[in-house]
Each structure stands twice: as C-alpha cells, then as structure tokens.
C-alpha cells in the first residue's frame, strides 16, 4: 500500500473533507457565475474538477482579465466600457 493510500485508509475523514471542499468550491463558483451572467453549469462542473486551480482560473477570468458588468435591464454580461447593452439596447452608461 502506498503512502497516500495508507493515509486515506487511516483517515477516511480526510477523504470526506476533500470531497466537501470540492463540493463547496463547485457550488460557490456555480452561484457566483449565475450572479454574473456566466455559463453557470460549465463553470460549476469546472469547479468540481480540482482544488484550488479551478477557482484561481475562474477568479482570474471573471475578476481580472475580462472585466464585465451586468446590464441593468436584461442582466446579461456586457463589457464594462459599454455605453449601450448589445442585447437589449438599454443605455448603461451616462
């Protein structure tokens, strides 16, 4: 039995803890993506694959690199510097 297998067999709680951690990450990413108008199902499943790399990539994409905001009328994701929403035509910037 390898070292890690030994550890997991001794501490099954560790396995449960890891699963709960992954579940929490996936659920949080799902919830945050739905608030931001992102594809929540894709991001949610992405968040279940690994911890914490999936979370880091998600945060970089949504917070830092492609800055977006939600349209006040249709709530879809649009560029921060948009004057008009490209989906519903609402004026979003003065």
């Amino acid at each position: 039995m390898s070292g890690i297998e030994k550890i997991l067999s001794i501490h099954p709680i560790l396995l449960v803890f890891l699963m709960l951690l992954l579940l929490s990450q996936g659920v949080w990413i799902f919830y945050d993506a739905s608030k931001r108008g992102e594809n929540k199902w894709l991001w949610g499943i992405y968040g279940l694959i690994q911890i914490p790399t999936s979370l880091i990539v998600y945060l970089i994409v949504t917070r830092k690199l492609l800055k977006t905001k939600n349209c006040i009328k249709c709530n879809r994701n649009i560029k921060v510097d948009s004057v008009y929403c490209p989906y519903c035509g609402e004026k979003v910037k003065n």
Partner: protein, 144 residues
C-alpha cells in the same frame, strides 16, 4: 328620456362636429339655440374633453409603476430559477463526487491521483484558451 328624432340626429352630428369629422352647419346651430337638451349635450362633450385631457397626465406615472412591477416579477422569477438550478447542481455534484469517493474506496486512488496531477498542468493552460474564446465571442457580439 325619449328624445325626438331631430334631437337624436342633431346629437349624432354634434359628436361628429366635436371630433372635427364634420363642420358646424346652420341647421345644427339653429337647433342648439332652441333646444336646451342638445345645448347641454354639446357642453358636456367639452367638459368630458377637459377631464380626459387632465387624465392624460396621470397614466404616465401609473405606467412607470406597472413597468417597475413587471421588472420586479422578472427578478423574483430569475431568483427562483437560480435557486432551483443551484439545488439541482448540488445534487448532481454530490452524486459525481460520491462516485469518485467510491472509486477511491475501490482502490483506484492511484489513477485518480495521476488524473489530478495531469489536471494541475491542463487547467492553468486552459486559461489562454478560455480568454481567447471569450474575446472572440465578444467581438462577434459587437459586430452583430
């Protein structure tokens, strides 16, 4: 009250005159001068117009309130849909992670660890791909 035929036809003409579909003629003018009820009828048409003109100011406020209510309903519906999707996601994730835990218990831990090590390399490398797809999508949206 039973109207005479003259009054009936005069009042019909008065409605047409009021809405500028007909011009006032001498026949109607002379009738109004002599008939009190038709004169009163003509006066009431103008009173009604004043009331309707005043009423035009108020509906704009109610219309805004109605729109606001519709918006709030849409927001509540959206929240409920998101909550339902979240619960569904939790159930599906629980099942998937349960399967993974079962695989670990069934002595497939080494394979899962190898998979995780590969993912440690692939996931960061997927970042430029995700950014590229997103920028292409936004360019497409801007163009169309």
């Amino acid at each position: 009250m039973i109207m005479s035929k003259d009054c009936e036809s005069c009042q019909k003409k008065l409605v047409d005159i009021f809405y500028n579909e007909e011009n006032m003629n001498n026949e109607v003018k002379n009738h109004i001068k002599t008939c009190h009820s038709c004169k009163e009828f003509f006066g009431r048409l103008y009173q009604m117009k004043d009331i309707m003109d005043k009423a035009k100011i108020e509906p704009s406020i109610e219309y805004a309130e109605i729109l606001q209510s519709f918006k709030e309903v849409e927001i509540i519906k959206e929240k409920r849909r998101n909550l339902f999707d979240l619960i569904l996601f939790i159930i599906i994730s629980g099942v998937l992670l349960g399967l993974v835990a079962l695989l670990i218990v069934e002595k497939y831990l080494v394979e899962i660890i190898y998979f995780q090590l590969v993912m440690y390399i692939i996931i960061p490398l997927s970042l430029p791909v995700i950014i590229k797809i997103r920028s292409l999508k936004e360019e497409y949206n801007e163009r169309y």
